[in-house]
């Protein structure tokens, strides 16, 4: 903890020096925390495809140092495995490098790691929790399903950011625009915690990277990470509890769970093209699947989540994506699909299911 605090102080001092024109040694090396989901608890972290992983133990059994190398890039991460399902990777190396190395790690097929995927409504909830002050936001929407022939609709790309306590009012104004309302989702939120003597302002990205932008209160940074981790854990556990499976009671095999539904505000015009993009095996969806044409307006998809290798069934109509997650499969699959559809097709999408997310 002391070590992390020192990282924060060093970054803060570098920024102060820059602000008064003192020559510094390059990019500000802010404290960055990546919240990483691990489907198999804490496995042996393996290198792959030229990503080299050099772990070193510390005196604390749950903490280790990881040096990651890819091509000419290299960075040191501090791995906190106190919660083996949601691991924390701390670093103060330059974000451009650590982001690339972290991507290599979570996308490697030899590990079962994934990012966490925070829906916009969850980011909004975090920013307004007691003790947090909403300090700004970034919006990012990129239509991953854009039709080849450009039409007036939809908005294919939108990026903007706003800072300050009243930035929420700017968002309210944007939400009133019918053209824009399907393209408004948080890429990041800025949250301040603490008091005037000791505080921190953190930038929380939708894919689980938290950067300390100002302040030196490591306690407030760590407590914010814990809040995010707890909220996310609850979401994932609820999804997994509602997945489709069976339960044994006194020798009887009972059926449990139900499919989750993503309700679209923006209609899918071309189901085949949508399915093809969704099942391209690449980022961000990481799904492979066979499409079964049920009717003009319905496709059944027999899929595999390439992150875990778990099977997944989907049903897609112009206004609905139904997700059948099997018991034992990773709940992160559902949130990855939901959040990336929010960012890449329709930010007005709604989650319908017997979970808290369905009532947000």
């Amino acid at each position: 903890m002391q070590y992390l605090e020192n990282m924060m102080i060093a970054a803060e001092e570098t920024k102060k020096e820059e602000a008064v024109g003192v020559e510094t040694r390059g990019h500000p090396t802010e404290l960055k925390t990546y919240i990483m989901e691990s489907n198999n608890g804490l496995p042996r972290i393996q290198g792959s495809e030229s990503l080299r992983v050099f772990p070193s133990p510390t005196k604390l059994p749950q903490i280790s140092v990881l040096r990651l190398e890819y091509s000419r890039l290299s960075a040191i991460f501090y791995l906190d495995a106190t919660d083996p399902r949601f691991l924390l990777l701390y670093t103060n190396d330059v974000a451009d490098i650590t982001d690339k190395l972290y991507s290599r790690l979570v996308e490697s097929s030899t590990n079962s790691f994934d990012r966490i995927w925070l829906p916009t409504e969850v980011q909004d909830k975090i920013s307004h929790l007691s003790g947090n002050v909403f300090r700004g936001f970034g919006l990012s929407f990129n239509d991953l399903f854009a039709l080849e022939k450009r039409r007036e609709l939809p908005i294919d790309e939108l990026r903007m950011s706003a800072s300050g306590v009243r930035s929420g009012r700017a968002l309210e104004a944007l939400n009133k625009d019918t053209m824009l309302k399907r393209s408004l989702c948080y890429s990041k939120i800025k949250v301040e915690r603490g008091n005037s003597q000791s505080f921190v302002t953190d930038e929380v990205r939708f894919n689980g990277r938290v950067i300390t932008k100002s302040g030196q209160s490591i306690d407030d940074h760590v407590s914010l990470i814990e809040i995010i981790r707890k909220i996310y854990r609850n979401l994932i556990e609820e999804i997994e509890q509602n997945s489709i499976g069976t339960r044994q009671v006194e020798g009887r095999t009972l059926i449990e769970g139900q499919a989750f539904e993503l309700i679209l505000d923006r209609q899918i015009e071309d189901l085949d093209r949508f399915s093809e993009r969704l099942l391209s095996s690449s980022k961000p969806f990481r799904l492979w699947g066979i499409v079964n044409k049920i009717s003009k307006d319905m496709r059944q998809i027999v899929a595999v989540d390439l992150h875990t290798g778990d099977p997944l069934n989907l049903e897609i109509t112009p206004s609905l994506i139904r997700i059948y997650l099997s018991r034992g499969a990773c709940g992160n699959t559902v949130l990855r699909l939901y959040v990336n559809t929010q960012h890449g097709f329709d930010s007005a999408i709604r989650f319908n299911g017997e979970t808290k997310l369905g009532t947000m």
């Binding site: 059926i255 069934n313 059948y324």
Partner: protein
């Protein structure tokens, strides 16, 4: 089966009539020995804690009705069923628990099915509506099905019970190929290989091909599905291009496998299209 399970769920775009009455899917294909010594195996039983009631479904996808089967169902009584539902429903007692038997059929078959069924209500699924003939003893249930239920704009769930052994080859093949890919992907994470000869005997493959509801099926049904899955796996793995595609995916553990996955989907679509052609040319292609 999917329609009935779906009606027990709060889906926005499907009928929620059974969910609204508190019904949950409870048992699939459970064999019962009735008090008069007969054996019945209903397709699905849904149970409502709210109504302290079970609804026992015999699903008829075709046009045949076994008269003996209906006679055996007539011997199913509260005491028999109660022994099976009491464990998960502590508030149920033999005194307050009731059940209704029900046939479900399809609209196009209903004129043939209906005259053969006496004293048992029938729930009929059409393209545009769900109708009921006969009468439920439970008032709430009777009231819920009294008027036809409009299906316009509704989207039936299809994947709770993904396929049966009698489904067509191309349809089943998609699930089998998916199951094999799931195994191949998991090999990179320390799992078995799709080329392991014992793979077909492993529960994990059956669940990857089907889904966890496989566990709830009767032994007989599981056996029939296993044989069907085994048959389709043998076709898939005998296909040189499919076999190679799985081999490449397994060999490339740790590397980007987008291209091999692209090859697999192309080969899978070709394989499925070929099965479709064979089925359309030879009506009874499968022995």
């Amino acid at each position: 089966m999917n329609y009935i399970i779906g009606m027990c769920k709060k889906h926005r775009d499907w009928v929620t009539v059974l969910a609204d009455l508190g019904y949950n899917p409870y048992l699939i294909e459970q064999k019962f020995n009735t008090s008069s010594g007969e054996v019945v195996t209903p397709d699905i039983i849904v149970t409502s804690t709210k109504l302290i009631h079970s609804l026992v479904f015999e699903c008829k996808g075709g046009i045949t009705i076994d008269k003996d089967q209906l006679d055996r169902y007539a011997t199913l009584d509260e005491a028999t069923l109660f022994r099976w539902v009491q464990y998960a429903h502590p508030l149920f007692t033999l005194q307050n628990f009731r059940f209704d038997m029900c046939i479900s059929d399809l609209e196009e078959n209903h004129p043939i099915i209906a005259p053969m069924v006496k004293d048992v209500p029938i729930v009929t699924f059409g393209d545009l509506k769900i109708t009921k003939t006969g009468q439920f003893s439970n008032d709430a249930l009777e009231s819920a099905f009294r008027e036809p239920i409009d299906l316009s704009g509704k989207i039936p769930p299809l994947s709770y019970y993904p396929f049966g052994e009698k489904d067509k080859d191309p349809y089943v093949a998609a699930f089998v190929i998916r199951g094999l890919l799931a195994i191949a992907i998991k090999k990179a994470k320390g799992g078995p290989s799709v080329f392991d000869k014992t793979i077909i005997t492993r529960d994990e493959l059956l669940k990857f091909v089907f889904n966890p509801i496989f566990d709830a099926l009767s032994n007989e049904h599981q056996g029939r599905l296993k044989e069907r899955i085994k048959e389709v796996i043998s076709w898939v793995m005998a296909n040189k291009d499919m076999n190679e595609a799985f081999g490449t995916i397994e060999q490339m553990a740790g590397y980007k496998i987008n291209r091999p996955l692209e090859k697999l989907i192309n080969e899978a679509n070709k394989f499925i299209a070929n099965l479709e052609t064979q089925q359309s040319l030879i009506p009874f292609f499968k022995s």
